[in-house]
Amino acid sequence: MSTALVEVSNLNAFYGDAQVLFDVNFRLGEGETIGILGANGAGKSTFMKSLTGLVKVDTNSIRLRGEAIGGNAAGEIVRKGIAMVPEGRRLFPSMSVEENLLMGGFAKRKGKWNLQEIYKLFPILKEKRNQPSTSLSGGQQQQVAIGRALMSNPDILLCDEISLGLAPVVIKDIYDSLPSITADGMTVVVVEQDVNLAQRCSQRLYCFQEGRVALEGKSSELSRDQISEAYFGI
C-alpha cells in the first residue's frame, strides 16, 4: 500500500446531541481510488462533510500528509487540496455553466485543470457553457458538479453519491470519465449505494453501518456475502 495521504483516526462526529460517527478509522493512499458503501443514514455523507470541514470534528482526528486538519474551515481545506462533489449536485442556480465552473476555481491551486480541460473532458458543457445551469439535464448537471470540483485542482476528489437519481446510461457515462480524472494520479473517494459500481471503480472498499466502519478490504477480494453483511447488517 502507498504512503498515507489522509489518515483518519478515531473520528467521532455529532449532529447536535446525536452522535453520527463512532471511532471511524480510515486511510487514503496517494493515487488510490476508494469506494465507500453503506445504506441511507450509515454516516457516509457525514464522513465526507467531516473531511471537507462542513461538519466540525476534533482537529487531530483527520490528518492530511501528517498535518492535523480536522474541523478546519471548508475554505481552508479546499486550499489544502480536498474538493468535493456534493450529494445532489448543489449547483448555483443563478449561474451559468461556466460561472459554476469558475466558482470552483475560486480557491486557486496550480495544476492541470482549467476551463479548457474540463470542456475536453465533458464536451457538451462547452456547448452549453452560457446556459443557466438549471436548464441542463441531470447527467449534465452532474458533469458540471464534477468539473466545478476539479477546477480547484485538488489532490483528493470526494464524490458523494454521484449516481443518485440518474439513468443507468448516464451513470455509465459519468463513471467512464473517472479514469481520465485519475490518470494524472488524482486520489478519488467515491461514495455509493450501488455495490457493483463501487466495487468496479475502486481498489479498496469501506462499508459503513450505523456510523461505524463495518468492513474494509481490497475491492477485488471482498465477497458479495461479506459486503451484504456489512451493508445490511444481516
Binding site: 449532529y15 447536535g16 446531541d17 446525536a18 453520527v20 441511507n40 443514514g41 455523507s45 457525514t46 462533510k49 462542513l54 461538519v55 466540525k56 471548508a74 450529494e87 445532489g88
Partner: protein
C-alpha cells in the same frame, strides 16, 4: 404536584390581594398599574407572535391604535359603555386584521416585519384623515361624563387586572394545549411540522389574529385610562419598540419573559423617564446587548445560573430536543455552516 398546588394558592392569593387594592391603595398606584398592564399585554402578544409563532412584526401598533379608536368611536358615537367597547373594539380590530394578514403573509422574514409596519402606517394615515374621530389632532373620550372619577378609576383598574390575569392564564393554557405544542413544532421547523400534518398556515393565522385581538384590548384599555387619543400616539411604532425591548430583556419564547421584562421596563421608566430620550436609548442598547450575548433574556440567565423556572412550560424544551435528534443528513449541511 403539591408544588403546583402551593403555586396556585399563592397566585390566587396575590390576585385577590391585588383586586382589593382600590380599598386600601392610592389612585396613583392604580393608574400606574393600568399603564404597565397595557405594555405587558402588548408584550405578551408580541412574544406569542415572535417567540412562538416565529413571526417578527414591527406593526403591532396597528391593532393597539385601532383598539383604542374603535373603543372611542363606539363609546363616544355609539353610546356603548367604554369597558364593553374595549372588547367590541378588539373584535372589530381582529376583523380588520384578517384581510391584512393575507397581505402580510405574502412576505417573509425581515420583509414581513417591514410589511406589517407599512400596514400600520396605512391605518394611521387613514384614521388621521377621518374627521369624525378628530383627524390628525385626535379627540377625547367623552363617554365618561357624569361618572364619578373614583368609580371610573376603580373599574379601569379591575379591568386591567382581569386583562393581565386572563392573558397569562390563556397564553399558558394555550401553550400547554395540543395547538400550543404544534406552534412550537412550527417554530423549530416549519417543514417538519407540515410533514406531521400540522396546518402551518392556519396556526400562523390563528396566532396573528389572537395577537391582534390582545394588542387591541391593550390599546382600548390604555385610552380608556388616558381619555385622550391621537393617531400619532395610538399608532406610534414606539409601542412595538417597547414590546420588543420588554420581551428581549425578559426572555423570548417564555411566558415569564414578558413578566420580568415588564418589571424591568417599569423600574427603568419609573426612575429614568426624567432623562427623556436617554432612557429609550438605554433600553434599546440593553435589548441589543441581550440579543447579542444573552438571547434568552433575564429569565434565561436565571434559569441557567439559579435553576429557577417560574412557569413549568418545560415541554417547550423537550419538544426541541426530540426534534433535533434524528439527524437527516441533508440538514447537517445547513446547521454546521449556519454560523460564519
Amino acid at each position: 404536584m403539591t408544588r403546583n398546588i402551593v403555586a396556585a394558592v399563592v397566585a390566587v392569593g396575590l390576585v385577590i390581594l391585588a383586586a382589593s387594592l382600590p380599598f386600601w391603595g392610592e389612585a396613583y398606584w392604580m393608574h400606574e398599574f393600568v399603564m404597565v398592564s397595557c405594555f405587558f399585554v402588548f408584550a405578551m402578544m408580541w412574544n406569542l407572535m415572535a417567540g412562538y409563532g416565529g413571526m417578527v412584526s414591527v406593526g403591532q401598533q396597528a391593532w393597539f391604535g385601532l383598539g383604542g379608536y374603535f373603543m372611542l368611536a363606539l363609546a363616544n358615537l355609539g353610546g356603548v359603555n367604554p369597558f364593553v367597547a374595549i372588547v367590541l373594539g378588539a373584535v372589530l380590530s381582529t376583523l380588520i386584521a384578517l384581510p391584512m394578514s393575507k397581505l402580510a403573509f405574502r412576505l417573509q422574514g425581515g420583509y414581513f416585519a417591514i410589511g406589517t409596519w407599512v400596514m400600520a402606517e396605512v391605518v394611521r394615515l387613514t384614521v388621521a384623515n377621518i374627521s369624525i374621530v378628530g383627524g390628525g389632532s385626535g379627540t377625547s373620550l367623552t363617554a365618561f361624563r357624569g361618572v364619578s372619577r373614583a368609580l371610573r378609576e376603580n373599574v379601569t383598574y379591575w379591568v386591567a387586572l382581569v386583562a393581565v390575569v386572563a392573558t397569562i392564564v390563556l397564553v399558558y393554557l394555550f401553550l400547554r394545549s395540543k395547538q400550543g405544542l404544534a406552534l412550537q413544532a412550527i417554530r423549530d421547523s416549519e417543514v417538519a411540522a407540515e410533514s406531521q400534518g400540522i396546518n402551518v398556515a392556519r396556526m400562523k393565522l390563528a396566532v396573528y389574529l389572537v395577537s391582534a385581538f390582545g394588542c387591541a384590548i391593550a390599546g382600548g384599555l390604555y385610552f380608556v385610562s388616558n381619555l385622550r387619543i391621537s393617531p400619532d400616539a395610538a399608532f406610534s411604532v414606539n409601542w412595538t419598540a417597547f414590546g420588543i425591548f420588554i420581551v428581549m430583556i425578559g426572555g423570548i419564547g417564555r411566558i415569564e419573559g414578558p413578566v420580568i421584562g415588564t418589571l424591568v421596563f417599569w423600574l427603568v421608566s419609573h426612575y429614568f423617564s426624567d432623562y427623556g430620550t436617554w432612557y429609550l436609548i438605554g433600553l434599546g442598547a440593553l435589548a441589543i446587548m441581550m440579543t447579542l450575548y444573552a438571547r434568552q433574556g433575564i429569565t434565561g440567565l436565571l434559569d441557567r445560573f439559579l435553576g429557577v423556572d417560574l412557569f413549568p412550560t418545560r415541554r417547550v424544551f423537550v419538544a426541541r430536543k426530540v426534534e433535533a435528534k434524528p439527524a437527516p443528513a441533508a440538514r447537517v449541511y445547513n446547521e454546521t455552516a449556519g454560523v460564519a
